[in-house]
Subunit: 292 residues, 2 copies
């Protein structure tokens, strides 16, 4: 019986690319996985772990023969990779990516291909840990997680179906939304929280009592700041790639924090309690939304 994918080429074999490869192999849904990246040691490791079957350092060579190409490189590397593979991909090759911001990927594609190719389907799996690298990858990463596809007007049905089937095969729930909507929602739920976590840890790290601050921090602080252990270069890329929407939601947050500061300065207990209570209700509502 033929597999869902005959040859999957993954450019950037890290946590996300590696976990998808593992999931598809586990489901016996993929003939051959070809890895590509800049770091040969990482690719050797990926091959030794059985995540990929073979590798090359040359993106153009890597995509030859692939029915699906997954771009799983940092957002800042997307345009360079697209430029490298552009001459080598055929019209029927399905290309998709895993970038955490989507307008920037679409803009990169337009810059490289003139327009976004019909078979280029931008996607974003809402999954990950604060760890990076192929050694952190595991086949269940996407199970019960959502993957957001952001099809364009000219996106082909075959690309939409193939990418949907691929992620469903990895255990994900596939949903669709517009590029603009994706970037606004992700700025709020993912990019801004990372900015705040990095900023908070940075603030505390510069205080005189730093050692004690970190020593006496309890579990709530650990949870709250865990995302500040995420790869700094990657999140720098993501936040800059989605700069407009990050600035928009950051502005809203700063306005609210200013108002709360005024309430503290004025010893306005009612305003503080109202703010905390509204937030608790919303957070508890969110918990019921996401409870499985």
């Amino acid at each position: 019986m033929s597999k869902l994918i005959q040859q999957l080429t993954i450019i950037g074999v890290g946590l996300i690319g590696g976990s998808l490869a593992r999931a598809l192999k586990k489901a016996d849904a993929c003939g051959e996985v070809v890895g590509c990246g800049r770091n040969e040691d990482e690719l050797k490791k990926a091959q030794a772990l059985g995540v990929i079957d073979r590798y090359t350092l040359d993106p153009a060579e890597a995509v030859v023969g692939a029915d699906v190409v997954l771009l799983a490189v940092p957002l800042s590397a997307m345009r360079g990779v697209m430029t490298a593979i552009a001459p080598a991909i055929s019209e029927t090759t399905i290309v998709t990516d895993v970038g955490s911001a989507k307008a920037s990927v679409v803009n990169d594609a337009i810059a490289v291909f003139g327009k976004i190719p019909d078979n280029f389907l931008p996607a974003h799996p809402i999954a990950g840990t604060e760890k990076s690298g192929v050694e952190a990858s595991f086949p269940e990463l996407f199970q019960n997680h959502r993957v957001i596809l952001t099809p364009l007007e000219n996106s082909s049905e075959v690309a939409l179906h193939s990418v949907t089937a691929m992620w469903q095969c990895a255990g994900a729930e596939v949903v669709e939304m517009s590029v603009e909507h994706h970037d606004r929602v992700l700025a709020a739920t993912s990019h801004l929280p990372h900015v705040l976590a990095y900023a908070l840890v940075g603030t505390l790290a510069r205080m005189d009592e730093t050692d004690e601050i970190f020593q006496y921090a309890a579990g709530g602080f650990r949870d709250f700041t865990r995302i500040a252990s995420s790869d700094a270069q990657m999140w720098h890329d993501i936040c800059l790639a989605n700069r407009k929407e990050v600035l928009n939601v950051l502005g809203r947050f700063r306005d609210d924090l200013d108002a709360l500061t005024v309430a503290f300065e004025a010893n306005d207990g009612k305003a503080i309690l109202d703010c905390f209570s509204r937030a608790k209700r919303a957070r508890d509502h969110f918990s019921t939304l996401t409870a499985k």
Copy 2:
């Protein structure tokens, strides 16, 4: 053999008071636990769960015969409780509390007793969950957690030893610091993170895309905002009780966030990467500090 404590009176039998009672009972370190509170149904529940042996709604009656009195009520209720028990406690009764801010407790004691009694030892167990109430209590809550004692100049050795032994018996590591130092460190590691989590959830809850925002939020967001599910009234009390230090660290954070916003507006990738990288190093250092 005589127990560590013959009669422990707990005023406010919730998550913290209830968990301490369970831990001491499990260690067979306590003769009788007397509960006191305003809500009789909660006290009946505590008695049915075996957390307390008997209860009364009258604080003055509750402390009669107690060798140790634990004040585990919200910070806003401390002064009222102290006023109620003042005529009933003997000179040898050891009084301690679990308030998350210490200067406010000391000020309440001075207001009620004229000066802080020699046997009144302020304390703060750095433990808790986002849940409240006696039903959420469990004996292991304090294991491998720190309890900060903030002894005053006139604190008695016997109070210091008794309160230290009590918390050690519950599995906690007991440390000492000054009231001022405690309040500064806790403002940074606990109170400010709660303010930010409440503020962020509040900001997102008022956006047009609220439902989708909460629907597509991933694990990082869940961790980051978990503390916004904490009891709003309690955190309102804590933050206002420690208002001066909360405002101080909130001011530092807002300055840093302003600088980061300027970097985003100027598309200054280097400044953003520097900030994120410094924070990641500090967070990773913190992880090694607290790894057990």
